[in-house]
């Protein structure tokens, strides 16, 4: 019986030779992401900006124009109205009023909209986040990502050598910046669940990097005289079919979620799909080549004993 092999049994692709090109591409993408972040910025959801989000269901296709007229008359400040997944599902976002010092304003926004809309509209979801809470969520989100990177740095340093942990974390930061860049580019709402997605990307990207590094370490012990670039190439090649297989299975699961999992978590799954791609790319083209520049300990005989 023949089995499916996405990657031939033995590949000899010279990944390391490509690293200059990939570094340039990565640097360009990182710069572009940062540029977008500072010019266009993220489309922060109410979790981080404060405000009100209402999802309504209408009887039959909604008339967005009419809704805009009705809600526009309420003088609620910045209001966004858009279709959400299906024609009879509408998302209404009301921004935090600049002069709102307490929460009463936002709550009454919900009441005002409820009174202005016809009776047959169902309120599927209402979320109100006050300015105090949104500030705390920004802090917690930032803290979570920073602590995660810090702990990864420490874990890899513990299990490998400091050069490995620098390489892994560079790859990690690269992935996070590119993810934020994509969110700036397509302006999908950036909310709490995206922070969760970013942390999962951190985990996934690390996972991938660790597999390659593990093989590098093993080969360092076996081939004490082999040039580092050749050794890195060999390690990447021999783990390549695993890398591709795992990416494919994870993507199969994620795409099924993206297509069938409903509108609410679409941004979340999109972030993760993107994360699988950049995470895989960065462990091959960033984490591994960085080792050559930092130089690694060649004599692992001490470590090999224990």
């Amino acid at each position: 019986m023949r089995t499916l092999k996405l990657v031939p049994a033995e590949t000899k692709i010279d990944f390391i030779r490509l690293h200059i090109a990939s570094f340039i591409v990565s640097l360009f993408l990182v710069a572009a992401s940062l540029g977008l972040f500072f010019t266009q910025g993220l489309n922060f959801g109410i979790d981080f900006k404060g405000g009100t989000l209402i999802e309504i269901g209408t009887n039959g296709p909604a008339n967005i124009g009419d809704l805009r007229d009705v809600i526009g008359k309420l003088d609620l400040g910045e209001v966004q109205i858009q279709e959400f997944g299906s024609p009879d599902d509408v998302l209404i976002r009301v921004g935090e009023k600049v002069d709102a010092t307490d929460n009463a304003d936002n709550l009454s926004a919900v009441d005002k909209i409820r009174n202005a809309l016809p009776q047959d509209v169902t309120f599927r979801r209402v979320e109100v986040v006050g300015p105090q809470i949104s500030g705390e969520l920004v802090q917690a989100g930032f803290l979570a990502v920073t602590v995660a990177i810090g702990l990864m740095l420490f874990y890899i340093w513990l299990r490998f050598e400091w050069q490995f942990s620098v390489g892994a974390v560079l790859a990690l930061i690269h992935d996070i910046i590119l993810t934020i860049g994509v969110f700036c580019l397509i302006q999908i709402e950036f909310n709490l669940s995206i922070i969760a997605a970013i942390l999962t990307i951190v985990g996934y990207s690390m996972n991938d990097t660790v597999v390659v590094y593990d093989r590098v370490r093993e080969n360092l012990r076996r081939f004490k005289k082999m040039p580092l670039s050749e050794l890195a190439n060999m390690s990447i090649n021999s783990t390549l079919s695993r890398t591709v297989m795992t990416s494919v299975t994870t993507l199969l699961a994620l795409f099924s979620l993206y297509i069938l999992g409903g509108e609410v978590i679409r941004g979340f799954t999109m972030a993760m799909i993107w994360g699988v791609f950049v995470g895989t790319y960065s462990s091959i083209f960033i984490a591994a080549p960085v080792l050559m520049y930092l130089g690694v300990k060649r004599d692992w005989s001490e470590a090999a004993k224990d």
Binding site: M1, T3, V147, V211, T239, R242, L251, G262, V264, M272
Partner: protein, 537 residues
Amino acid sequence: MLYFSKPKIFLILACLFAGIIFSVPNLYDDESVNDLPEFFPKNKLNLGLDLQGGSHLLLEVEVEAIVKERLENLLSDMRLNLREARIGYSQIGVKDDYATVVIRDASQLDEARRVLNELSTPIATNLFSGATAKELEVEDIGNGRFNIKLTEAALQNRVLKSVEQSIEIVRRRIDELGTTEPSIQRQGTSRILVQVPGLDDPERLKALLGQTAKMNFHLLDRNVSGYDAVGGARVPSGAKLVFSETSPAEPYVIRKRVMVSGERLVDASVGFDPQTGAPEVDFRFDSLGGRKFGEVTKANVGNPFAIVLDDKVISAPVIRSPILGGSGRITGNFSVETANDLAILLRAGALPAPLSILEERTVGPGLGADSVEAGTRASIIGFVAVMIFILISYALFGLFANIALILNMVLIVGVLSLLQATLTLPGIAGIVLTIGMAVDANVLIFERIREEIRNGKTALVAIDSGYSRALGTILDANITTLISAMILFYLGSGPVRGFAVTLGIGIITSVFTAFTVTRLMVALKYRGQNRVEKLTI
């Protein structure tokens, strides 16, 4: 790696069996789950508010209001005590977070300091050691002026008590709504997290929690009418101007002194006016309140009094005859629902301080059901796609991996049911992600076996070294993901936390099923065979 002792095999099978037992209740609906045999666990997956619908409210006790109320009370004590000690004072009042007074006669400063210090009552800071702290800090800032402030310990003590009391009252109010399993928890120092699943009308919940519901009975001041006061007439010092809840609001001048406090109420319920049939609220005082109410009404027959709720006049009837039985009724502009809500508020008691709503997240039952359906469908299809892919990639070993994958799902459901962890929509995403990543361990092992075979090893040796060499990598790779999950759990809240839980549990169960369980299957398959010619992998 391929040898398993009997106790070990037994232990592995016991784990799997336990997982199956704990996940079984989820196959039954709520009624028939109780028909399962006695020994079966009955706990099903605990769905989060985003899946079953419900309201999540984060409330904060307004600390400033607590401080202000204490300072206002302190002010009247200061007046009383200084007057009793015959100490002349001026410019008495409350500023920001302290009370202030100026003593007129410099020779009485020491006496005044003593009197003011006596106002401070010791507060218990530690119930076990009996340690106490001062409640008030009296500061002499010169020129005869004293500032009196609550100490940090006193403030904390007061906030703590208020939050505890508020939680109790919030619980009573929500219980009156008759919802199932509301969760009311304290968060941080002054916050209360309320989670009520499956509520039809979150607006009503908010209306019930948004009111302090301090109800008092006051006599009206007969010297100045409400309209005169609005027109600019001076309101006497012992009285104040308040308005009715009706629109247009009607003004009343009430005496500040409380005739009978709402704290004396023992019961309140909806009734109907025997003549007009309009809804009203019937109430009953405790014996002390009843006696007081009787005395005051007896002395004031023919005069109006006001029933004041949170500084708004609900009604201002005229006392026609003394009310001696300790019970009465409030008529006003009520509908059955507003009368019922007022009765609920009066029965549950007043909040010690107003609550402000910091965060609200409500998901309607329709959206929750849609999410469950979409999440389930996505999981099943993702699951099947991954299984097909694995089967055509690794043949017999793929079958082992797939069996492990199914067992992994069962274990995740079992552990979630056992721990009663909350399953949220991102949590379902976590499970789907785990499906994708669970096979990673198997992929690592199988690819390694293929490699070892290519390097000329015999089948059994290749299997053995495939498992042992992949173990380190599997552990490293999964521990990093576990670190992310743990951080998410500690720093996340609500749905995000649900994601962290399923991701974390999924990582642990998947290492067990993908590494140990498949290894057991392989071992049982090749047991007793000394030579295996060819592996299909």
